[in-house]
Structures are given as structure tokens and as C-alpha cells.
């Protein structure tokens, strides 16, 4: 088979069986849109028609759902989600085969999917992130077709531009009325924003709201409107609240994580970005959230009012909004109960869709307005390419989510990582799976020094003037290897088990079967 080499030097086949023709990654902004938007089927509801049906099986029969269709789901219920398993159990019962599941993120709770693949009910998976038994099964070659891994913005783009054609969107609805209005802020499975479900509802041929909390008509607020919803199904339970949101997201107490976070805040200050109208995105874990703590201190000292915080929203960001440190929160996904409370009650806390958040092919996503994003990495290489898909054993354990989107959009993208994770150096000559291209990464912050991407000489000069502990990425790599040795490189099999798409739909890398 003929080979292609993409812009970051990855060798790829011209075509991948079960995926199709490969468009190689050409650079973060090099591939232009050349298609019209996808248009879903136009339908109507007569005044006399009811949308409430008694169970999921009835929905399957009324649509009807057939072999080979694509069913989509959102991941706002995270590891508490009950809807995917409920729907696929019905598909299995009805003997339906060859389905593709388009689920924005896959969690350990989705383990029954493995059995559905073995039985031929499901043959394809389209997702932005996966962890747990499904991710392990993917790595071991369970699926007959390669899994498509996208970014959060890339999924919205693929739906809007017709590459991810959804037959039926099953929307887990924490609250719904009987005419199909849906929100995520009420009911036992309240999760806050429903941002990732919005493109599915807009573009799917059929939309089904699955709820355990039926409210009188009309529901308010409305996140997904009745005008796009065909059916409403009441079930006993759509999810386990314990797995959906955490009580409060806590800042790490790990001293190394805090050291990295503090250095990250100093990097942001040295770049001259702690000023009025500052905009910021950071993750909910480890050093990322702790960076918000130190950034907040600097904002308070400088008397600065930021413009907005973006992304997955935690209680800490809500506190900053309420303290007047940001004028707005732009929320595509909530992580804890404070985020749910805030989006339900504070008009300055905005719910936005995945395409508004991060799509590269619209007239401007929110990530484009970011000053700074702080992101993690499982590996980074000396070209600053980042892997967030596979772990140190070569097995899938994550995915881009919004990683590549925010990195592309922000004026300054910072990767925070422990130089040694366990006993392994995180800087490689080449990452096993490239997820986010190095050209969109500006700074790497570790506990033993800060490395600046050589194409950002402007930042280098500012950081030097501020006395930050600068090293080259190669120097940091050598430092780590001096302590821990050079890890053996991971050998994989030949079979391609997942195709990693960049946000514009080009292929940045593939995941091969783990041995």
C-alpha cells in the first residue's frame, strides 16, 4: 500500500480499511473547508401529535432503527451514564447489528459495549476520549473497524460538515418536558451544561430525549429545544449521580504539582497576560486546577478583572466568577455541583455548544478568544508534539477532548507535566501517538524547568527577563533520563485500531494494536 507522510512526519497509509481515504494532517490551520454544511431531514409535528412514548423499544420500532445505523450519545453524565447501556441493550434484544456508536467520550461505565461488539451489535465507535475497559479492548483490536478519535471541536465540525452522519441521537436529559424541551440543571442526574449534545440534536435525522425527570410543559431553561426533538422517553434512571459530578473539585496537595502550578502562574505573568480582559482555560485535574489558584492570587494582587474562563467548568472557576475576577464563564461541560448550581442561576455563566466552544470550521469558536490555556500531557516530544491518547504501555487511556482545539485557539498554550511520572521521563524523542501538534504548543512547565517552543522567541525573551528557570526541551529530556534512564520504546502490532483525527478532519496519527 502507498504511504503518505503528514506535516509532523508521521507515515500513514493512503487509505485505511474501514475508515477510508486518509487526508494527511498538513498544519494546524493549513486545511481549508471545502464543503457546504450538512442538512438534516426536514420534518414536522402536527398539533395533535404526542412525543412521549412508553419505552426505548417503542422508539426503536417507530423510527425504525435498522442494521448499520449510527446512534449518537453525549458524555455529560460521564462515569454515571446509564443511557448508552440502556439503548444498546435494547438494540441487542431486537437483534440489530452493525451499529456505529458516536459517543463524545467513553468511560469505564460503558464496559457492556465490549460485549455488544463481540456479538456484532456494534461495529464502529466514534469518540473524542476513552478510558476503562472499552479503551483497553480497542487497543487490543476488538473492533472490526478502526475507531475514529476526534477532538471536541472536531466532532462538532464533523457533524456539521457531514463526515459524521447521525441517524438517531439519544440525548440523556436530566430534565425534559413531554414536548421535548431539555435542560441539564434539574433532576437527580443534573450535570449542568449540555454543550456536547447540541450539535447532535441539531443535525441528527431523529432525536430522542431520554429522561428520568419529566417536568410540566414548558420546561425552562431550555438547552435543547422541542423544535429538534422527535421523541421523549421516560425511564426510571438515566444515571448515577455519584459518577456524574463530584461534590467539589479540590486543588491538589501534591507539592510537586503545586510547584509546577506556581511556576505556570509565573509564566503567565511574565508573558504580560495578567491584565484586564484576561481569558483563561484550565483542566480540572492536578497541576492544571492548581494553576488557577496561583493565577487567581496574581489577578487579585494586580486588581485585574478577566474577560472569561472557558471549557470544562469547576467550582473553583465559579468562585472566581462570583468574586468578580472574571466577567463571564463560557461552559460547555460542568465538573462539579457548584458548576451546576451556577449555570442554573447566574446569567453570567453561559451554556454553549461544542461548535461554539471549539469547532475550527465556523466563523469563530470561543477557543479563538483565549489568552491562555493550561493543558496536561501523557508524553511530549522534542518537537513539542503532545500525546494524550496512549499511556506509557501503548494502550489507549484518553483522547484529545478539547486539548487540540484549545491549544490551536489560545494565544499561549502551556503544557504542565511532571518531568518524571512514576519512574518514567515524559519527554520523548518522538511521542507514541501524536494528538496535538507541537506548532500549537508554546511552553512546557515541569518541576525542574520551563521550556519554550523555539518558534516563540518573543516569549523566551520575556521569560528570561523575568528570571524564570529556562531550559531547552532537549536539556529537560536529558535531565530526566539522567535520573530515570532511557525507557525502552514501546513496540506495537501492525493493525490500526484507531485513527486520530486533528480538529480539521485530517489524520494526525494512528493507534496500532498493542502487543
Amino acid at each position: 500500500m502507498n504511504q503518505l507522510t503528514n506535516a509532523i512526519g508521521r507515515d500513514l497509509p493512503e487509505s485505511i480499511e474501514g475508515y477510508g481515504k486518509v487526508r494527511p494532517f498538513a498544519g494546524a490551520f493549513a486545511t481549508l473547508p471545502d464543503m457546504p454544511r450538512q442538512a438534516p431531514k426536514v420534518k414536522r409535528a402536527l398539533p395533535s401529535e404526542q412525543k412521549l412514548v412508553e419505552d426505548i423499544e417503542t422508539v426503536f420500532k417507530q423510527i425504525p432503527i435498522k442494521d448499520g445505523m449510527t446512534l449518537s450519545f453525549h458524555h455529560h453524565l460521564r462515569n454515571g451514564d446509564g443511557v448508552v447501556n440502556l439503548v444498546l441493550a435494547v438494540a441487542a434484544k431486537l437483534g440489530i447489528k452493525n451499529l456505529t456508536v458516536a459517543l463524545s467520550s467513553v468511560f469505564p461505565v460503558h464496559a457492556p459495549l465490549v460485549e455488544h461488539v463481540k456479538n456484532g451489535v456494534v461495529v464502529g465507535l466514534d469518540t473524542n476520549y476513552m478510558s476503562g475497559p472499552v479503551a483497553q479492548a480497542v487497543s487490543h483490536g476488538l473492533f472490526p473497524r478502526p475507531v475514529v478519535m476526534r477532538t471536541h471541536g472536531g466532532r462538532a465540525r464533523a457533524i456539521e460538515c457531514g463526515q459524521l452522519k447521525i441517524d438517531v441521537a439519544f440525548i440523556a436529559a436530566p430534565a425534559a418536558d413531554d414536548y421535548g424541551n431539555v435542560n441539564g440543571v434539574e433532576g437527580p442526574a443534573a450535570c449542568g451544561s449540555l454543550g456536547y449534545a447540541i450539535p447532535d440534536a441539531q443535525y441528527a435525522d431523529h432525536v430522542v430525549a431520554v429522561t428520568d425527570h419529566l417536568m410540566p410543559y414548558p420546561l425552562s431553561p431550555i438547552s435543547i429545544p422541542q423544535t429538534r426533538v422527535d421523541y421523549v422517553v421516560k425511564v426510571e434512571c438515566i444515571g448515577d449521580p455519584k459518577g456524574i459530578v463530584s461534590g467539589t473539585t479540590k486543588i491538589t496537595r501534591d507539592p510537586v504539582g503545586l510547584k509546577i502550578a506556581e511556576t505556570t502562574a509565573k509564566v503567565i505573568k511574565a508573558a504580560g497576560l495578567i491584565k484586564d480582559d484576561f481569558s483563561f482555560q484550565t483542566g480540572a485535574g492536578g497541576a492544571s486546577l492548581a494553576a488557577a489558584y496561583y493565577v487567581r492570587q496574581m489577578m487579585e494582587e494586580a486588581g485585574v478583572t478577566g474577560s472569561f474562563a472557558l471549557g470544562g467548568i469547576t467550582g473553583y472557576m465559579v468562585e472566581m466568577l462570583e468574586a468578580g475576577l472574571f466577567r463571564k464563564l463560557i461552559d460547555v461541560q460542568g465538573f462539579d455541583l457548584d458548576a451546576v448550581r451556577s449555570i442554573a442561576s447566574n446569567p453570567k455563566h453561559l451554556e454553549v455548544s461544542a461548535d461554539f466552544y471549539a469547532s475550527p470550521f465556523n466563523m469563530g469558536a470561543a477557543v479563538n478568544k483565549l489568552d491562555v490555556v493550561v493543558l496536561g500531557a501523557t508524553e511530549i516530544d522534542t518537537d513539542f508534539n503532545v500525546n494524550v491518547v496512549t499511556g506509557s504501555d501503548g494502550v489507549v487511556m484518553g483522547g484529545s477532548g478539547g486539548h487540540s482545539d484549545a491549544a490551536a485557539g489560545a494565544k499561549m498554550t502551556i503544557i504542565v507535566a511532571n518531568l518524571l511520572r512514576g519512574r518514567l521521563p515524559i519527554i520523548k524523542g518522538q511521542v507514541l501517538t501524536a494528538t496535538t501538534p507541537g506548532e500549537t504548543i508554546d511552553v512546557l512547565v515541569t518541576e525542574r524547568g520551563v521550556a519554550v517552543n523555539p518558534n516563540r522567541t518573543d516569549l523566551y525573551e520575556k521569560f528570561k527577563a523575568a528570571g524564570l528557570p529556562l531550559k531547552t526541551v532537549e536539556e529537560l529530556k536529558i535531565l530526566a533520563e539522567k535520573m530515570a534512564g532511557v525507557p525502552e520504546s514501546i513496540t506495537t502490532g501492525e493493525k490500526i485500531v484507531a485513527v486520530v483525527e486533528y480538529r480539521d478532519g485530517t489524520v494526525i496519527d494512528v493507534v496500532r494494536q498493542s502487543k
Partner: protein, 289 residues
Amino acid sequence: MDLRRTMLFMPGNNPGMLQNGGVFGADAIILDLEDAVAPQEKDAARLLVAQSLKTVDYGTSEKVVRINPLDTFARIDIPAIVPCCPDAILVPKVESSEDIQEVARLVAVAEKPGQAQVKLIALLETPRGIAEAYRIAKADKRVVALAFGAEDYTASLGAKRTKEGTEIFTARTIVVNSAAAVGIQSIDTPFTDVNDIEGLVADTQLAKQLGFKGKLSINPRQIDDIHKVFNPTVQDINWAERIIKAIRKAEAEGAGVASLDGKMVDAPIVARAELILYLARLLGLAEEA
């Protein structure tokens, strides 16, 4: 003079902490074989600390090991640790000049030929240790600092430990004075509530005011705040520069005494100004003269 604004304890049986000890920017790190390590883990910790001294890069931090007291494992710790070239040994529960002299003798025996001389820091944490502070300070030329441990001290006194620290005021001033009397440093007791930053800053300010040159620390999160207190302020540096300028001018004019803002500038004031500028330059807070 070595900076010891912060001396950070690291449990000697925690490989993760020992590996990362150098990243927090403490002036000294103390690899602890004593209180942080349970009796049944002493052997393992001793091996781990010895290996860490030989292999881990602690950057600019001074490498200090807190051994066990003489009446427990000090005689096993010293020959195992000293040849691995720590910069200093922190000797706990020192109560007499003989304690220090005995440790100094054991250290001298354990040192390899050509090895930089291992310094001693005496940790005073009993009423008797405080009473003997001056004799301990001058017991051996290896002693570079007295450190104060208030928890054991107040327990022996039968006094309640408070954040205000009234109960340790006398002991603190004795430690500072005894060290100053023989020209060595004094290091204050740790502030144990790691979540109370305001309390830490207030306690450190008090220590600095009393004359301590640094503070023991039990958590990396305390380092920056302690440094901020011990670092000369902009006002300190400006004042010191004006003093030095005034004395140079007086010297150039052949005047015996200088004055600034109507006050006489005498030798002790000049010495204090010089110390501030020395620290400021060491810390990169002021330009080289």
C-alpha cells in the same frame, strides 16, 4: 556565609519526596532519619537516604541529614551517611557540649580522605538543651548553626503550644543570643499548621525580628512565604544603599563620621547595611556594586 532561610524536612523513607527534594527552592533540605521514620523502617530509610545523597541532584539546596539521637541509632547512621557527602548533619536532642563533641568525633572518623568537612547543626529541643545553648554553640568548630525545636521543648516544659508562641519566647531568644555570641546562625522552629499562611508569615516575621536567620519547614508550600519574610525588602535595600553612599562620601571627604537624615552612621549600622546588600546581591535582588 551560607543562606539557610529555609530548611525543608523530607521523610527519609519516601522515595518520591527524596527524588524531588531539590525542586522546591529551599536553601537547605533535611533528609530525615529521625521522627519521620518509624523504628522498623530505619534501616531502609538509611539506605535510601545514602543512595539519594549519591545520586539525586539537589541543585543549589544544601544537603542536610537529620540523624537519630546518640542514645538510639546515631552510631549506625553516621558511618552510613557521612561518606555519602552530605553538607551537614542535623543532630537532634542535643543537651550538652559533650553530645556535639561525640558526634563530631564520630563524623571525623567516618569522613573519607579528601571529603569536604561535614558541618554540624545542633537541634535544641529540650529545656536542658536550651540551658546549655551557648556551650553547645561553641563545642566544636564544625557547628555552623543552632536550630530550635519547640514541640518537644514545650512538651518537656508541660506548657501548651500556642500560635502566638509566648511559651517559647525565652527559649527563642536564648537560641538566637547563644548562636550570635559565637558568630553562628540560629534557625527557628517549624510552623506546623501548613494551611495557615497568615500565621506562618506572622510567626516568621517574629522570628526574623528576634534575630533568627532562617526557619525549619515541614512542607514545600511554606518555602516561598518564608523566603519573602527573610529577604531584604526594597526599603531595606534602598536604606542600605544610602548608608553605604553616605559613608563612602564621608571617607572621600576625610570626615571621621558620616550622618544620614540627621543621624550618625556608625560601624554597627554600616555592618547591618553591608549584610543587607550582601543578601540582596546573593538573591539577585540588587545589582552588583
